[in-house]
Protein backbone atom coordinates (compact mmCIF):
# COMPACT_ATOMS: atom_id res chain seq x y z
CA UNK A 1 0.00 0.00 0.00
CA UNK A 2 2.87 2.33 0.69
CA UNK A 3 5.32 1.81 -2.12
CA UNK A 4 7.89 3.87 -3.91
CA UNK A 5 5.77 4.61 -6.94
CA UNK A 6 3.05 6.38 -5.00
CA UNK A 7 3.06 10.12 -4.59
CA UNK A 8 2.40 9.86 -0.87
CA UNK A 9 5.70 8.01 -0.47
CA UNK A 10 7.64 10.93 -1.89
CA UNK A 11 5.55 13.32 0.12
CA UNK A 12 6.82 11.59 3.23
CA UNK A 13 10.37 11.65 1.88
CA UNK A 14 10.06 15.36 1.22
CA UNK A 15 8.60 16.02 4.65
CA UNK A 16 11.38 14.08 6.34
CA UNK A 17 13.96 15.92 4.24
CA UNK A 18 12.46 19.25 5.27
CA UNK A 19 12.48 18.16 8.91
CA UNK A 20 16.08 16.99 8.67
CA UNK A 21 17.28 20.21 7.10
CA UNK A 22 15.35 22.23 9.64
CA UNK A 23 16.93 20.25 12.45
CA UNK A 24 20.35 20.73 10.89
CA UNK A 25 19.80 24.46 10.86
CA UNK A 26 18.67 24.44 14.46
CA UNK A 27 21.41 22.23 15.78
CA UNK A 28 24.33 24.00 14.14
CA UNK A 29 24.37 27.08 16.34
CA UNK A 30 23.68 24.97 19.39
CA UNK A 31 26.89 23.11 18.74
CA UNK A 32 29.13 25.77 17.32
CA UNK A 33 27.95 29.14 18.51
CA UNK A 34 29.32 30.70 21.68
CA UNK A 35 27.05 30.65 24.67
CA UNK A 36 27.53 33.74 26.71
CA UNK A 37 24.49 34.10 28.83
CA UNK A 38 23.73 37.28 30.62
CA UNK A 39 20.67 38.51 32.40
CA UNK A 40 20.15 41.45 30.11
CA UNK A 41 20.19 39.34 26.98
CA UNK A 42 17.31 37.31 28.18
CA UNK A 43 15.07 40.20 29.04
CA UNK A 44 12.06 40.46 26.81
CA UNK A 45 12.05 43.43 24.55
CA UNK A 46 9.72 46.23 25.52
CA UNK A 47 9.48 49.38 23.50
CA UNK A 48 6.72 51.23 21.78
CA UNK A 49 3.77 53.35 22.67
CA UNK A 50 1.08 51.01 23.85
CA UNK A 51 -0.16 51.73 27.37
CA UNK A 52 1.05 49.37 30.02
CA UNK A 53 -0.98 46.85 31.89
CA UNK A 54 -4.15 45.04 31.10
CA UNK A 55 -5.36 47.39 28.42
CA UNK A 56 -2.82 46.00 25.97
CA UNK A 57 -4.52 42.70 25.55
CA UNK A 58 -7.88 44.36 25.12
CA UNK A 59 -6.57 46.12 22.06
CA UNK A 60 -5.71 42.85 20.53
CA UNK A 61 -9.07 41.27 21.19
CA UNK A 62 -11.25 43.65 19.32
CA UNK A 63 -11.22 41.62 16.14
CA UNK A 64 -12.01 38.30 17.76
CA UNK A 65 -15.41 38.45 16.10
CA UNK A 66 -13.70 37.97 12.75
CA UNK A 67 -12.21 34.72 13.94
CA UNK A 68 -15.65 33.43 14.87
CA UNK A 69 -16.93 34.46 11.49
CA UNK A 70 -13.98 32.75 9.87
CA UNK A 71 -15.04 29.46 11.41
CA UNK A 72 -18.55 29.86 10.07
CA UNK A 73 -17.32 30.74 6.62
CA UNK A 74 -14.83 27.88 6.64
CA UNK A 75 -17.63 25.38 7.02
CA UNK A 76 -19.74 27.11 4.38
CA UNK A 77 -16.87 27.15 1.94
CA UNK A 78 -16.45 23.40 2.27
CA UNK A 79 -19.99 23.00 1.09
CA UNK A 80 -19.47 25.52 -1.69
CA UNK A 81 -16.49 23.53 -2.86
CA UNK A 82 -18.66 20.47 -3.23
CA UNK A 83 -21.10 22.53 -5.23
CA UNK A 84 -18.32 23.96 -7.40
CA UNK A 85 -17.08 20.47 -8.10
CA UNK A 86 -20.34 19.43 -9.67
CA UNK A 87 -20.81 22.75 -11.38
CA UNK A 88 -19.83 21.70 -14.84
CA UNK A 89 -22.00 18.62 -14.90
CA UNK A 90 -24.91 20.07 -12.98
CA UNK A 91 -28.03 21.39 -14.58
CA UNK A 92 -29.31 24.84 -13.82
CA UNK A 93 -31.28 23.89 -10.76
CA UNK A 94 -28.23 23.59 -8.57
CA UNK A 95 -27.77 27.32 -8.03
CA UNK A 96 -30.55 27.97 -5.62
CA UNK A 97 -29.16 26.40 -2.48
CA UNK A 98 -25.65 27.85 -2.61
CA UNK A 99 -27.11 31.23 -3.41
CA UNK A 100 -29.46 31.10 -0.45
CA UNK A 101 -26.66 29.83 1.76
CA UNK A 102 -24.50 32.79 0.91
CA UNK A 103 -27.35 35.24 1.25
CA UNK A 104 -28.09 33.90 4.70
CA UNK A 105 -24.51 34.53 5.78
CA UNK A 106 -24.30 38.10 4.61
CA UNK A 107 -26.15 39.71 7.55
CA UNK A 108 -23.72 38.27 10.13
CA UNK A 109 -20.86 39.49 8.00
CA UNK A 110 -22.20 43.03 7.90
CA UNK A 111 -22.98 42.90 11.59
CA UNK A 112 -19.46 41.82 12.44
CA UNK A 113 -17.86 44.40 10.21
CA UNK A 114 -19.92 47.19 11.76
CA UNK A 115 -19.18 45.88 15.21
CA UNK A 116 -15.46 45.76 14.67
CA UNK A 117 -15.49 49.31 13.45
CA UNK A 118 -17.49 50.39 16.45
CA UNK A 119 -14.97 48.88 18.82
CA UNK A 120 -12.25 50.75 17.06
CA UNK A 121 -10.02 52.14 19.73
CA UNK A 122 -7.08 53.33 17.72
Amino acid sequence: MFSADQGIYWFVVFAVLALVSGLLFLMTPMIFAPRRRSAIKEETFEAGQLPPGAKRIRFALQYYAYLLLFLVFDVTIMFLFVWAYSFSSEGTYGFVYPLLLILVLIPPLIFTAKLSKAMDMW
Binding site: M1, F2, I57, R58, A60, L61, Q62, Y64, A65, L67, L68, L69, F70, L71, V72, D74, V75, T76, M78, F79, V82, W83, Y85, S86, S89, E90, G94, V96, Y97, L100, L101, V104, L105, P107, P108, F111, T112, L115, M119
Partner: protein, 229 residues
Protein backbone atom coordinates in the same frame (compact mmCIF):
# COMPACT_ATOMS: atom_id res chain seq x y z
CA UNK B 1 2.00 -6.45 8.85
CA UNK B 2 -1.06 -4.93 7.31
CA UNK B 3 -2.36 -3.80 10.64
CA UNK B 4 0.60 -1.58 11.34
CA UNK B 5 -0.82 1.60 9.86
CA UNK B 6 -4.24 1.61 11.56
CA UNK B 7 -2.67 0.61 14.85
CA UNK B 8 -0.13 3.41 14.58
CA UNK B 9 -2.85 5.94 13.80
CA UNK B 10 -4.93 4.62 16.67
CA UNK B 11 -2.02 4.87 19.07
CA UNK B 12 -1.23 8.41 17.99
CA UNK B 13 -4.85 9.56 18.24
CA UNK B 14 -5.42 7.96 21.63
CA UNK B 15 -2.20 9.42 22.96
CA UNK B 16 -3.17 12.89 21.79
CA UNK B 17 -6.62 12.54 23.35
CA UNK B 18 -5.21 11.43 26.67
CA UNK B 19 -2.68 14.25 26.63
CA UNK B 20 -5.42 16.72 25.83
CA UNK B 21 -7.29 15.68 28.93
CA UNK B 22 -4.42 15.16 31.28
CA UNK B 23 -1.99 17.94 30.48
CA UNK B 24 -1.09 20.19 33.34
CA UNK B 25 -0.80 23.18 31.09
CA UNK B 26 -3.90 24.28 29.23
CA UNK B 27 -1.89 25.30 26.20
CA UNK B 28 -0.36 21.87 25.80
CA UNK B 29 -3.83 20.43 26.17
CA UNK B 30 -5.12 22.64 23.38
CA UNK B 31 -2.21 21.67 21.13
CA UNK B 32 -2.87 18.00 21.88
CA UNK B 33 -6.49 18.53 20.96
CA UNK B 34 -5.30 19.78 17.59
CA UNK B 35 -3.14 16.70 17.32
CA UNK B 36 -6.17 14.57 18.14
CA UNK B 37 -8.12 16.12 15.28
CA UNK B 38 -5.16 15.45 13.04
CA UNK B 39 -5.18 11.81 14.11
CA UNK B 40 -8.88 11.55 13.28
CA UNK B 41 -8.21 12.92 9.82
CA UNK B 42 -5.46 10.31 9.37
CA UNK B 43 -8.10 7.68 10.01
CA UNK B 44 -10.26 9.18 7.31
CA UNK B 45 -7.33 9.18 4.93
CA UNK B 46 -6.70 5.55 5.72
CA UNK B 47 -10.34 4.71 5.02
CA UNK B 48 -9.99 6.48 1.69
CA UNK B 49 -12.58 9.11 2.60
CA UNK B 50 -10.47 11.90 1.22
CA UNK B 51 -12.99 14.70 1.27
CA UNK B 52 -13.98 14.02 4.85
CA UNK B 53 -10.33 13.97 5.88
CA UNK B 54 -9.66 17.30 4.23
CA UNK B 55 -12.79 18.76 5.77
CA UNK B 56 -11.62 17.59 9.18
CA UNK B 57 -8.21 19.12 8.67
CA UNK B 58 -9.42 22.40 7.30
CA UNK B 59 -12.22 23.03 9.76
CA UNK B 60 -11.12 21.32 12.93
CA UNK B 61 -7.39 21.75 12.91
CA UNK B 62 -7.42 24.94 10.90
CA UNK B 63 -10.21 26.81 12.63
CA UNK B 64 -11.53 25.14 15.78
CA UNK B 65 -8.10 24.37 17.23
CA UNK B 66 -6.98 27.89 16.49
CA UNK B 67 -9.98 29.34 18.29
CA UNK B 68 -9.50 27.12 21.31
CA UNK B 69 -5.78 27.82 21.45
CA UNK B 70 -6.46 31.53 21.10
CA UNK B 71 -8.93 31.49 23.96
CA UNK B 72 -6.61 29.47 26.18
CA UNK B 73 -3.66 31.73 25.50
CA UNK B 74 -5.50 34.96 26.08
CA UNK B 75 -7.17 33.80 29.25
CA UNK B 76 -3.98 32.34 30.58
CA UNK B 77 -3.50 29.63 33.15
CA UNK B 78 -6.07 29.61 35.96
CA UNK B 79 -4.82 31.33 39.07
CA UNK B 80 -5.89 28.50 41.34
CA UNK B 81 -5.16 25.21 39.80
CA UNK B 82 -7.72 22.48 40.40
CA UNK B 83 -5.77 19.75 42.12
CA UNK B 84 -5.51 16.81 39.75
CA UNK B 85 -4.75 13.59 41.50
CA UNK B 86 -1.10 12.83 41.07
CA UNK B 87 -0.68 9.44 39.61
CA UNK B 88 0.67 7.40 42.41
CA UNK B 89 0.96 3.67 41.97
CA UNK B 90 -2.67 2.67 42.21
CA UNK B 91 -4.00 5.47 40.08
CA UNK B 92 -1.42 4.82 37.41
CA UNK B 93 -2.29 1.16 37.33
CA UNK B 94 -5.98 1.91 37.08
CA UNK B 95 -5.44 4.35 34.25
CA UNK B 96 -3.21 1.95 32.40
CA UNK B 97 -5.76 -0.82 32.63
CA UNK B 98 -8.47 1.42 31.31
CA UNK B 99 -6.35 2.55 28.41
CA UNK B 100 -5.56 -1.06 27.61
CA UNK B 101 -9.20 -2.03 27.64
CA UNK B 102 -10.14 0.90 25.44
CA UNK B 103 -7.48 -0.02 22.91
CA UNK B 104 -8.65 -3.65 22.80
CA UNK B 105 -12.21 -2.67 22.19
CA UNK B 106 -11.29 -0.10 19.60
CA UNK B 107 -9.08 -2.57 17.74
CA UNK B 108 -11.83 -5.15 17.69
CA UNK B 109 -14.32 -2.67 16.34
CA UNK B 110 -11.85 -1.39 13.77
CA UNK B 111 -11.11 -4.84 12.43
CA UNK B 112 -14.74 -5.78 12.32
CA UNK B 113 -15.56 -2.63 10.44
CA UNK B 114 -12.83 -3.21 7.93
CA UNK B 115 -13.92 -6.84 7.61
CA UNK B 116 -10.47 -7.95 8.57
CA UNK B 117 -10.18 -11.23 10.39
CA UNK B 118 -10.85 -10.43 14.03
CA UNK B 119 -9.20 -13.60 15.06
CA UNK B 120 -9.20 -15.44 18.33
CA UNK B 121 -6.60 -13.29 19.99
CA UNK B 122 -8.66 -10.18 19.55
CA UNK B 123 -11.82 -11.91 20.58
CA UNK B 124 -10.15 -12.97 23.77
CA UNK B 125 -9.05 -9.40 24.30
CA UNK B 126 -12.60 -8.31 23.76
CA UNK B 127 -14.01 -10.59 26.42
CA UNK B 128 -11.24 -9.77 28.83
CA UNK B 129 -11.84 -6.06 28.47
CA UNK B 130 -14.94 -5.80 30.70
CA UNK B 131 -13.07 -7.57 33.46
CA UNK B 132 -10.17 -5.20 33.04
CA UNK B 133 -12.44 -2.20 33.13
CA UNK B 134 -14.21 -3.40 36.28
CA UNK B 135 -10.88 -3.97 37.91
CA UNK B 136 -9.77 -0.46 37.01
CA UNK B 137 -12.99 0.91 38.41
CA UNK B 138 -12.46 -0.85 41.70
CA UNK B 139 -8.88 0.26 41.97
CA UNK B 140 -9.65 3.85 41.20
CA UNK B 141 -12.60 3.87 43.52
CA UNK B 142 -10.49 2.72 46.39
CA UNK B 143 -7.67 4.99 45.40
CA UNK B 144 -5.36 6.75 47.79
CA UNK B 145 -7.19 8.18 50.77
CA UNK B 146 -5.64 11.60 50.42
CA UNK B 147 -7.00 12.16 46.93
CA UNK B 148 -10.03 9.99 46.93
CA UNK B 149 -12.44 12.53 45.56
CA UNK B 150 -10.49 13.03 42.38
CA UNK B 151 -10.20 9.31 41.85
CA UNK B 152 -13.85 8.70 42.50
CA UNK B 153 -14.81 11.20 39.89
CA UNK B 154 -12.68 9.45 37.32
CA UNK B 155 -13.93 6.06 38.44
CA UNK B 156 -17.52 6.98 37.80
CA UNK B 157 -16.60 8.41 34.47
CA UNK B 158 -14.94 5.16 33.53
CA UNK B 159 -17.94 3.21 34.70
CA UNK B 160 -20.23 5.29 32.55
CA UNK B 161 -18.03 4.91 29.50
CA UNK B 162 -17.73 1.18 29.97
CA UNK B 163 -21.49 0.83 30.31
CA UNK B 164 -21.82 2.53 26.95
CA UNK B 165 -19.23 0.22 25.47
CA UNK B 166 -20.92 -2.80 26.99
CA UNK B 167 -24.24 -1.75 25.54
CA UNK B 168 -22.65 -1.34 22.14
CA UNK B 169 -21.04 -4.75 22.23
CA UNK B 170 -24.24 -6.27 23.51
CA UNK B 171 -26.07 -4.88 20.51
CA UNK B 172 -23.44 -6.26 18.17
CA UNK B 173 -23.61 -9.68 19.74
CA UNK B 174 -27.36 -9.62 19.47
CA UNK B 175 -27.23 -8.67 15.81
CA UNK B 176 -24.61 -11.27 15.10
CA UNK B 177 -22.30 -9.09 13.07
CA UNK B 178 -20.94 -5.59 13.05
CA UNK B 179 -23.03 -3.57 10.64
CA UNK B 180 -20.71 -2.72 7.79
CA UNK B 181 -21.05 -0.96 4.54
CA UNK B 182 -22.83 -2.67 1.70
CA UNK B 183 -20.94 -1.65 -1.34
CA UNK B 184 -17.63 0.08 -1.49
CA UNK B 185 -16.27 2.71 0.80
CA UNK B 186 -14.37 4.28 -2.04
CA UNK B 187 -14.27 7.95 -2.53
CA UNK B 188 -16.98 9.39 -4.72
CA UNK B 189 -17.27 13.11 -4.64
CA UNK B 190 -19.75 13.32 -7.49
CA UNK B 191 -22.31 11.28 -5.61
CA UNK B 192 -21.68 13.35 -2.54
CA UNK B 193 -22.25 16.52 -4.50
CA UNK B 194 -25.40 15.21 -6.08
CA UNK B 195 -26.92 14.09 -2.83
CA UNK B 196 -25.94 17.24 -0.98
CA UNK B 197 -27.57 19.45 -3.55
CA UNK B 198 -30.53 17.28 -4.28
CA UNK B 199 -31.74 15.31 -1.30
CA UNK B 200 -30.12 17.21 1.48
CA UNK B 201 -30.12 20.66 -0.02
CA UNK B 202 -32.81 21.93 2.30
CA UNK B 203 -31.04 20.43 5.28
CA UNK B 204 -27.85 22.20 4.30
CA UNK B 205 -29.77 25.42 4.08
CA UNK B 206 -31.20 24.94 7.55
CA UNK B 207 -27.71 24.23 8.82
CA UNK B 208 -26.57 27.41 7.14
CA UNK B 209 -29.26 29.34 8.98
CA UNK B 210 -28.10 27.75 12.19
CA UNK B 211 -24.54 28.77 11.44
CA UNK B 212 -25.62 32.32 10.73
CA UNK B 213 -27.56 32.48 13.99
CA UNK B 214 -24.59 31.08 15.86
CA UNK B 215 -22.32 33.66 14.27
CA UNK B 216 -24.68 36.47 15.24
CA UNK B 217 -24.95 35.18 18.78
CA UNK B 218 -21.25 34.61 19.28
CA UNK B 219 -20.28 38.01 17.97
CA UNK B 220 -22.99 39.74 19.98
CA UNK B 221 -21.91 37.96 23.13
CA UNK B 222 -18.31 38.89 22.56
CA UNK B 223 -19.26 42.51 22.20
CA UNK B 224 -21.28 42.48 25.36
CA UNK B 225 -18.28 41.22 27.30
CA UNK B 226 -16.25 44.13 26.01
CA UNK B 227 -18.87 46.67 27.03
CA UNK B 228 -19.31 45.28 30.48
CA UNK B 229 -15.63 45.59 31.09
Amino acid sequence: MDYLIPIAILAFTSLMAIMALESRSLVYGAISLGGFFLGLSLFFFYLDLLYLAIFQLLVYVGAVSVLILFAVMVIGEPAKKVPTPRYGGLGFLGGLLVALAAVFIALFLLFSFLNLAADTLFQIMLYVSPVVVLLAFVILFIGEPRQRSGYRFKAFGILGASLVFAGFIGVISYLGTVPSYEGSVTFNLVDLADSLLDQYGLLILVLGLLLAAAAFGAVALAKKEEEEQ
